[in-house]
Every structure is written in C-alpha cells, then in structure tokens.
Amino acid sequence: MSSVGEIAQKVRSKNAGPFWLTVDIFCGTPKAFEQLRDNLSTDRVATLFQISSDQIKRFDIPDLNVIKFSMPRPTIQGARDDRDMHGAGWGPLVAELDVN
C-alpha cells in the first residue's frame, strides 16, 4: 500500500469558481497513471468527501497522466462555514489516501 501522494508527482486542489472544487492528480508517468486509474476508485473519493459518487465528475486523461475529480464545493467559498477560501486543503486529503 502507498498513498496517492507517494505514487503521484503532485496533487493539487483549487476552487473552480465559488461553487465547485477540483482536484488534479498529476501522476507523472504512464505507470503511476495506470496504477491510480485502476486503484483509486471514485467511490473512495466520494467517501472521503462524504458525498455520493454521482456528484463527482471524473476525468482520466492519459495524454497528461492526470486524473481529475471535480465536485460541488463541500462548502460554498467564503460562506460562514467555509474554512479554506482557495480550496487548498482538500488536495492533501486525497494525497493521503492509501491505495494498492
């Protein structure tokens, strides 16, 4: 078992506007891309964010060795219950997931 962050080159989360969050996993190599594509399920990510997997848009992009997840922001950016204005902290959450 390794974490997503150990397998990938970089994991980044950003706002995609105030209402959406996007997480980009830059795998770096085709091998790392295939490993994460096959072993990091959308359901795992959904569980992590405590949402249903049909709320997540997933893009596996072999040309870039990138896996991208987009979802409605867990809290609307800047709302009273928002803790992370730029959506920076969700990337590490995904990076710390252990996968085969």
């Binding site: 995609a16 105030p18 209402f19 959406w20 950016q77 800047g78 009273r80 219950d81 204005m85 902290g89």
Partner: protein
C-alpha cells in the same frame, strides 16, 4: 492573423519588464490583461474594492500604458479591481487619468460597466447553474453588488469605438483576449482556446512567475510563445492549463456558446513555442451571461487563544465544547439574545481547522490554536459576544478541582472586529436579447 500580448495573469501580480519590452517590439495588435477573479472570496465583490494595493496597480498599469503607446495598439483590462464593479471601473479610470497626466499623454478611454441593479435582477428570470445555491427574490435584492460577466461581444463594441484603453468591469477571463481574433475572423475554437490558455499569463509555461506571453491567432488555431528568458511553453504545460481552476478540462461555457477542446492537438514548434489546432466552438441558441452577487451574511469579531499545556492540548475539543455551552448560557442570561440570530464557533488550529469533519489525520502536537469566530447581525453585538467569550478563552478549566489555568493570548485586546462577512449568492445565468442590454459603455478623450 491577430497577435495578442498578455503581460501577466492579473494586474497586480507583476510582470517581467525585459520580456514586456521584447513583446512590444514584436508589434502586438492588442495588449490584454485580466484584473480580477472570485478566487479571493466574496468580500471584494461585496465591498466593491480591489484586492491589490492602489500603489501596485498604478505602477504596473503605468508600465502597460507606456507599452501600449510604444506598440501603438489598444490596451484592454477585464474585471477591473478584482471584482469588476462600477466603483472599480471608476477607480482604475481615475488611476489612468493620473498616469496619463503624469506622462503628458492623451488617450481615448472606453469604460464598460457590468454592474446590475439587485432590485431588477430580483424580478428577472434567471437560470441556476449546476451546484447553485437556492435563492429567493429577497436574497437577490439584498446583494450589495451584482455583476454580469461580459463576453467578447461587449469587448468588441468597446474596441470598435477606437479606444486606446478599454477599462472593463466584470468580464469572463477569456473575453478580453478572444474578442479581437474573433472579430478578425480567426478560428473561433482557436480564439477561445488560446484565450483560456493565456488568461493566467505564464502559468501555462514552465515558469509561471515570468508573466509575459504572446499568442498568435489565425484561421486554423493559435501559437503561444512565452517572452521571458527562463521559461518555456511545452505541449504538456499548455494542455495541462485546461485543468487549472476548471471543473471540466475539455468544455468551457462562455456567453453565446461553449468551447470544446476534445479534439485539440498540441505540437511543439521549437523549444519554447507551442502550436494548437483542432478545438471547436459550439454556438448556443440563446445568449446568456453569468451573474455574480455578494451579500452581507453578518458581522464578525474573532479572537485567538493558544493552548500549550499538554493536558489541554490533549483535551482541546472537550474544552471548546464546554466553553461554547457556558458561553451560550451567559449570552442568553446577559444579552437576552435569540440563539437563532447569532453564532459562535471555535476552530482548533492544529487539529482540523482546514477540513473540519472531513479531517482523517490525527497527530501529537506541541500546541494548538483556538480561533473563536462570533457572528451577529451587527458589529457591536458581535464584539459583545466576543467579550463574553474572552474570560473562558483565558481561564476556563476542564474540571472544578484544579487551579485556574491561563492560556496564551497573542494580542491585547484579544478581540478583533472583522467587519462585515459576505457570501456569494448567485451562480446563475440571465438571457439577453442583445449582448449590450445589461452593459453600459462610456467613451471619453482624456
């Protein structure tokens, strides 16, 4: 062919001066720069102010006005002053007049205003986008500011006045770059795609800090070249930029249609330059513009205490829960406030302040910060709530049978008034019969 110079991802972020000079010497047809973003949160739109200092804005804007004069081409800024309200168009217009006067220059200036009357929008038929919050007419009417995002059509109208400088309120990031190549009849897919790749300046290259890039648009696509010495555009850096702050890396919705880059090809022309072809533009039946609005959600006072005692670090959550209970009773007793009208929150910095309930990690730590956030309908009430919280943050004991503890306060007074807290309330589009229906243009010779 149209050559567009993009000095930086945003006015206020800085640009490489030598690279800008080189770009000007290459005779661009337009200099385009973005002035804003929602990325720093709702307060800027709520207050109608800029995130960047006037001093930074003026220095950088002066450099671009001088570059424009040298290049003999128009200069256009979109989303002036971070949020693109009318107040920010006027703010940058005042700065522009100051600069022109200091330089002894004259110029024709077009101002494009994007702000909407909340009372009117509250009565207008608008359509929610995916993940939009539920809003009623009263909520919309209570917005401090609402802006509509202009597309290329409005920028073209501004450019066609013969303006030397266009100061636009809220626009899409791409519109200011795509407007001229589209008007010139260049590839529509290429114009929008190139604009999306270029809107953050050199973020689409290997060294994002350099800022300056040039895009050549033509009938088949576009070619992107960074101008600084120490950066390169590669097929990977360029295509990867479609991921950036984008929920869908292949589709981008704009007023009047959407860009589809599924079929795009990225080819290295040499070590630093990339050629892109094959992206398509799909026009829509209706012409819609997106709306952004911000309203006051309350007023806040905050305070910070730091726990260093290992027993309290270990029991921080119980300590916070206990304080919130005591504080609530005290507020009811002494202020007689309905609990529905105010809120108190203690976020434990060092435990889960970023992720809240989603946090999965635990770790031992030397100390923990406790951030108290008090929110009320007015500032004075928020400050009073914080004053009632203060003694607990300073001395609250986990049990009755221990000497009174004291915790670290970094400041005196411990309470900090934060002013109004704002929230974004609109993620909707509005249909327009004519693209200029929701926008106003003013042209002056200065």
């Amino acid at each position: 062919m149209v050559r567009v110079l993009i000095p930086s991802g945003a006015l206020g972020l800085g640009y490489d001066k030598a690279a800008l000079d080189r770009a000007v010497a290459a005779k661009p047809d337009l200099i385009a720069i973005d002035g804003g973003s929602t990325d720093s949160g709702p307060s800027y739109l709520g207050r109608g102010v800029s995130k960047y200092a006037r001093e930074s804005t003026k220095v950088e804007w002066r450099g671009l006005i001088q570059a424009r004069t040298k290049a003999g081409c128009p200069l256009v800024i979109g989303t002036a002053g971070t949020c693109g309200t009318d107040s920010m168009v006027d703010w940058l217009y005042d700065i522009t007049i100051e600069i022109l006067s200091e330089l002894g220059q004259s110029a024709k200036i077009a101002r494009l205003y994007s702000e909407q009357d909340p009372q009117v929008i509250a009565r207008t038929q608008i359509t929610p986008l995916s993940a939009a919050p539920d809003v009623d007419a009263a909520t919309i009417a209570s917005c401090e500011h609402i802006v509509a995002l202009a597309g290329v059509e409005q920028i073209q109208v501004a450019l066609n006045t013969g303006a030397d400088i266009v100061i636009a309120g809220r626009t899409t990031d791409t519109a200011i770059i795509a407007a001229l190549p589209l008007q010139n009849g260049d590839s529509a897919g290429g114009a929008w795609h190139g604009a999306k790749i270029g809107e953050c300046g050199a973020i689409c290259t290997t060294n994002s800090a350099t800022g300056v890039i040039m895009i050549d648009f033509d009938a088949d696509g576009f070619t992107i070249t960074p101008l600084a010495d120490d950066t390169r555009a590669t097929p990977h850096t360029v295509s990867a930029h479609m991921l950036y702050e984008n929920s869908d890396p292949f589709i981008l919705y704009e007023p009047g249609g959407h860009l589809d880059v599924t079929g795009a090809t990225y080819t290295a022309k040499n070590d630093t330059t990339v050629r892109v072809e094959g992206s398509t533009w799909v026009p829509s039946d209706k012409y819609t513009v997106k709306l952004e609005g911000a309203r006051i959600t309350g007023y806040q006072t905050i305070a910070i205490a730091i726990l260093r005692d290992a027993h309290y670090v270990a029991n921080a959550q119980a300590w916070c829960d206990d304080i919130l209970n005591h504080h609530k009773s005290k507020v009811t007793d002494r202020m007689g406030l309905d609990p529905a009208t105010w809120s108190a929150e203690l976020r434990i910095i060092g435990r889960n302040a970023t992720l809240g309930a989603l946090e999965t990690r635990t770790a031992d730590t030397v100390e923990l910060g406790v951030l108290a956030i008090l929110t009320a309908p007015d500032q004075q009430t928020a400050a009073t709530l914080a004053k009632l919280m203060n003694p607990y943050l300073l001395h609250h004991a986990l049990s009755n049978n221990e000497p009174m503890p004291t915790f670290a306060f970094p400041f005196s007074p411990a309470e900090i008034d934060r002013g109004a807290a704002y929230e974004f309330v609109l993620h909707h589009v509005m249909e327009l019969a004519d693209p200029m229906d929701a926008f106003r243009l003013e042209v002056t010779d200065v």
